[in-house]
Each structure stands twice: as C-alpha cells, then as structure tokens.
Amino acid sequence: MNTDSRTIREPPRLLIPIEVLEGESISASLVEFLAPAEVVLLGYHDLPEQTPTEQASMQYEEKARTAIDDIADSFRGAGGNVETRIAFTHDRDQTVDRVAAEESVTGLLLPNPVGEIEEVIVPIRGAIDVDRLADLVATLLEDGSRRVTLWGLAEEGDEFDAEAAVEYTRNTLSERGLPDDQISTEVSVAESPVWDIIERSSEFDVIVMGEGGPGLLASLFGDPSERIAEGAVAPVLVVRNR
C-alpha cells in the first residue's frame, strides 16, 4: 500500500482467522478499516474429535474455499492485498498460532460485530512491541478520519509506569507520521484491567492491544486478549510479541 507521508518500518501484516463453515464473516466497515494492511485470511473448520480432518476436507473443502474467496474478494474490492489459507483442525488455537508464526504476522484479529469505525482504543498494560503496534495503528489510520486513544492502565502497587509507556507510544506514533490531533491519551489506575477494558469497549469501535505474557491467570482463563474479545462489543486486534 501507498503510505504517503507515513514512515512505516515494516508494512503490517494481519492474520484474520474465520470459522468459515459456521458462516462467520467480516463486516464491510471492518474490511475497509483493515484493507490498508496486508491480510492473511485463514478459513478454518474446528472439528469434533470423532471426525478425521481428511474426512471433513473431502466433504467441505470446496464450500470452505468458495466462502473464503468471497471474503477475500471484498478485501480486494477495498484495495487490499490479501492471501487465503484453509485449514481443518481439532485445535483452533494451535492452527492459528502455527499460521501466525509461518506468515510472521504483526497481529491477528479476534472478530466481533462492529458498525462504522471512528474511534480506536489502545489499552497499554505492560510490555508491548511498540514498533509493531505503531506500524499497525499508523497504517490503519492513514486516511485521517479516525482517532486513536492511548490508554495506560496501571494496577495498584504495580511497577509498570503507564504514563511513560503511553508517552513513548505517542512519540513513536508521531514518528510514523500520525498527526497529533488524531491521538489522545489518558492514564488510569485499574483494579482489573481486563474488566475495565471490557466495560469501556462500547465507547470505542476497535480495540488494539498486546497479547500479554504467559502467566497463571492466562493459563487458567485464556489470554487476556481472548477474554476481552469474548466480553467486549468491539473487534480486537492483537499485536503479537516478536
């Protein structure tokens, strides 16, 4: 994509996993919002243990391919650069992780319904790959009509300096050429960042966040980003750690 005045270091590349045979799709506004990035569409079908992947592929391969090609066409229609892959699996997470690594994507989309996209929120809760985040946000916001809010969340008694992290992210975004009037910042102290983010998600149209490290909570309840995607009303873009 032409990035005009932007100085993007690496063009962002997004993985969009779609449970294609369940009729999952991507709304037109989201397609238009994501089209500036390179997109890898992964149509997957998560099978019960009783069904061999080969058996399902024999029966559903064509149907899956048609459905994913339709979605790819809508990205091409919006001027996007898109690749497609189809996978039959018993383990959705394993497949998504594998493809994300193989395609070395910047981030991946956890879809949720969304209308017009104007406001993007970036909750910052700890270590995040700011370069990748900035590449992604600056690219997606290049048409100038959308705004991003950088929201630092510190937990009480936390060593994490939310203020500094937000400031650093804002500077990096400016370096990438995003005009200052498109960026706003705030910082708050949170008891439970995941819940706070879910609660505020209705004020925004898209959430962009880091994947968060491994931890006890993550292994019990799933990644914070996945929990947020489940609770929030907005789609979540997860920036992968390198």
Binding site: L47, P52, E54, A56, E61, A87, F88, H90, Q94
Partner: protein, 474 residues
C-alpha cells in the same frame, strides 16, 4: 505420485477410490487443493490412546479368567502376548511412518498386498473392533454390577451385567454422534490416574506378597496344568494388546509422526506388558489361582480387598470402570476411522464416510460401530467376544508383517519411512508366524466365527468392488 499402479476401478455404485494425494510436514498434511489438515495429537496423546485402549482388558478383566486356565503361568501367557505385540508393533511403526494416514493396518495392507487382502482386512478389522468394543462394554457391565452390589443394592438373579453394558453402549454411541471437544484431554487424565492407581497398588501388593509386610505366602506350583494352557491362555488374553495398532488408525492426526508413532506404539506395548505381568504375579501370589478363578472378571477387586482393604477394593472398582470405558470409547473412535478408510477406497458405500451437517461427526460410520456392538453385547459371552476380536486383529497383524516384507522388497519410489525396523525379515517374519500361530490356540467356536467373517468380507469385495484397484496407490 510416481507409481505405475494408480488406484482405479469402480464399485457397484459407480464410485471410484478417492485419490487424495497429499504432502506435508510434521505439523500438517496438505491436500491437493492446498488445504491444511492440522496434526493435533502429540506423543502423550498417542501413548494415551494406546495405553487407554489396552489397559482395561489386561488388568481389570483377565487376571481371574487367565489364572483359572493356566495357573501362575498366566504371567507367561501375558509375556508371550507382549512379545508378539512387539514383533508386530515394530513393522507397524515402520509402515505407519511411511504412510501416516488414517486407516492404519488396512491402509498398509491394501497398498502393499493388493485390494483383496486389503478388503478382507478392512472389513474384518471393522468387525474385529466391534467385537473388542462389545467385550469392553460387557466388562464394564461386570464392574458396574460389582459397584452396585458393593453399594448394597441387591442385584442377585437379575441380568444386570448385560443391561448395564447395553445402557452404557447406547450412551457412548450417542455421545460420539453428538461430538466431543475435550474427550481426548480427559482420556489423558484418566490414563494418568489409572497408571497411578496401578503403580501404587502393584508396588504395595508386590512388597506384601514378597513377605515384606507379613508372612510370606506359599508359592504355588508355576505350571499346575502343564504347558499347553499357557498358549491357549495367551491366545485368550491377547485382546489385552489390541490397542497399539489403534494409534496407527489416527496416524493422520499425530504430530511429527516419524518420531511419535513408533514411540507411542512400542512405548504403550512395553508399559502395559510390564503392568500385566506384575498384576498376574501379585494376584496369583495373593490368592492362589484356583480361588482367583472363582472371582471371574472382577477378581482384581478381591485381590485389592485382601491386600489393602476396602479402600483398595474401591480404588480398583473405580479403576476398572474408567479403564473399560476408555477402552470402549477409544475402540468406537477407531472403528469409525477404519470404516472411513475403507469406504473412501470405494470398498464400502461412500455414504459411510459422510459427515453429519448438524454435529459435524461421521454419523454413519459411528453408527456402523455402535449398532453392531449393541447386538454383540446382548450376546454377552466375554471369552468368545475377546477371542474373535483377537482373531481378526491377529490376521491383520500377520498381514502387516507380510506387507512390510513386500514393501521392502518392492521399494516403491514413495516408500520412505522415518523409522526402519532393524533385521526386518527376521522381525516381521517371526511376527507373522507368531500372529497366525496364536490363532491356532483359540477355541474352535472363535475360529469358526473369525473365518466366517473373513469369507463374508471376501465375498462382499467380489460382489461389490471386484474392479477396484488399490495396490501401490498412495
């Protein structure tokens, strides 16, 4: 792919074998159209399928029956079974790493030896697994009935074993038809729990009978009935070793198959073999084989009661329930995959491999597993069910060994196994002779049923799919 023989021909319904030539690596298989098929079972999962299928029978069902037939030498019967299983597991591992596809033994035999042996094995292994599942379910019934009577429910005079087995067979079939997400993970924990119960119990029991805790028990004569019963008992208890080849039926789902398939197959045989021999040793030492035999299928419960008290009896009851359930469930799943592999090659109507739209499960293949099982459960004779299951599996095992020798001789271009059997002629040759040999020691009735099934399978092939060619097709 670079073979001269392509799959071809038509069956009566006009279907041809589906040629799904695929490529891929340790993580995925890639179909001709470029779709990726994720491999999602690791080494633990593979071992758990193998051990989970096998352990139910050998520990929780056979000790009483086997000791009654062969005395303390039943331990030798289990050892003979282990040697045969290993002699087959090695060639099966090589074939599986060369052809890591769903279908297991049927697939290797049809590609190496041709369509007729393939069809006979494919259809009889479907029924062999049906017999095995019925056997596990009847055993489950015995344990469930024992649990009821332990709980004080008076079940004397009622056909409770068969009823419970039938009920549970229906439940199992329905659960599989609806489809499960995390049953495999659950199975891993169940197998882990079983192994823990057994290792604790056998260590304690072993020390006890060696006289560490109390008076040493009087050793019984090792061969009270002579040598012959050792072999007939080996033929009977071989059902305890049928699980390792089930790992190969899910080969298409195993991660890094070149490494994990051989490890899972050989590892699960070795694990259960050690436990079986130790169990027989402890059981016959605790009671003497004559008394042990009077307890029948749930003899281990009485052994545990004598050695550890009521808590031990409860642990073994629980273990028996879990083990027979996990064996039955693993076998239903393998059956459906075996049916799929055969119907994909147009040897059975292709409708059998259809996937249900609502639940996403292969409902017809699963019904072809569950339905006949219920009929056999009603028939209910444990020893015949077990022997027919072993008979049909042993035919496949023997032919797998022959298939290995044929593959090594022909060396088709695509044949490139990651794991190679050392001294393959000796290993596979002995494996084949031993597999076929063991059949000779079975009861006449089981042999007749087994042969009848194979003849019927050959007849079906001639009638339905006589033109289908599979040899050499990959």
């Amino acid at each position: 792919m670079g073979t001269n023989d392509e799959a071809g021909g038509q069956n009566r319904a006009g279907d041809e074998p589906e040629e799904a030539s695929t490529s891929g690596d340790g993580e995925t298989t890639v179909t001709e159209e470029g779709s990726e098929l994720e491999r999602s079972i690791g080494l633990t999962g593979g071992l758990s399928i193998g051990i989970g299928t096998m352990i139910g029978a050998g520990i929780f069902v056979f000790p009483g029956l086997a000791a009654g037939d062969a005395g303390p030498a039943a331990a030798a019967s289990f050892a003979i079974g282990a040697v045969i299983a290993l002699l087959v597991a090695l060639p099966a591992s090589e074939l599986a790493t060369a052809m890591p596809k769903s279908g297991g033994g049927y697939y290797y035999i049809s590609r190496a030896l041709g369509t007729l042996p393939g069809a006979v094995v494919g259809i009889s292994i479907w029924l062999g697994l049906v017999f095995a599942t019925a056997f596990y379910l009847v055993s489950f019934g015995s344990y469930a009935a024992a649990l009821l009577s332990e709980a004080g429910v008076d079940v004397a005079g009622l056909p409770i074993v068969g009823t419970l087995a039938l009920l549970f067979g229906v439940v199992l079939t329905v659960v599989n038809l609806v489809g499960t997400e995390n049953a495999a993970k659950l199975q891993n924990y169940v197998v882990g729990l079983l192994l823990t119960i057994l290792v604790v119990f056998l260590s304690y029991g072993g020390l006890d009978v060696l006289g560490v805790f109390g008076s040493e028990s009087t050793p019984e004569q090792f061969l009270p009935f002579g040598v012959m019963p050792v072999f007939t008992t080996a033929a009977l208890v071989f059902t305890s070793y049928l699980g390792f080849a089930q790992v190969a039926t899910v080969a298409g789902d195993i991660k890094d198959p070149g490494r994990n398939l051989p490890l899972a197959m050989v590892g699960s045989v070795l694990t259960v073999a050690v436990l079986y021999v130790a169990t027989i040793f402890v059981a016959t030492s605790a009671f003497g084989s004559g008394r042990l035999a009077t307890f029948g299928e749930t003899a281990m419960v009485e052994v545990a009661r004598a050695l550890v008290g009521d808590a031990g009896a409860m642990a073994i009851l629980l273990g028996g329930l879990l083990a027979t359930v996990s064996s039955a469930n693993a076998s239903v799943l393998s059956t459906s995959r075996a049916v799929f592999a055969v119907s994909k090659d147009a040897l059975l109507p292709t409708i059998a491999s259809r996937v249900n739209l609502q639940y996403g499960t292969p409902h017809i293949a699963l019904s072809m597993a569950g339905g006949p099982v219920l009929v056999l459960v009603a028939f209910g004779r444990v020893e015949v069910l077990a022997e027919v299951a072993s008979f049909l599996h042993l035919v496949m095992y023997g032919l797998m060994c022959v298939a290995l020798i044929a593959m090594r001789r022909d060396e088709p271009e695509w044949y490139d196994p990651d794991f190679q059997v050392p001294a393959h002629r000796a290993v596979a040759g002995t494996g084949a002779v031993a597999s076929f040999g063991l059949i000779a020691f079975m009861q006449r009735e089981s042999q007749i049923i087994g042969v009848a099934i194979m003849i019927a399978a050959a007849g079906w092939y001639k009638y339905y799919a006589g033109d289908v060619r599979l040899k050499g097709a990959l």
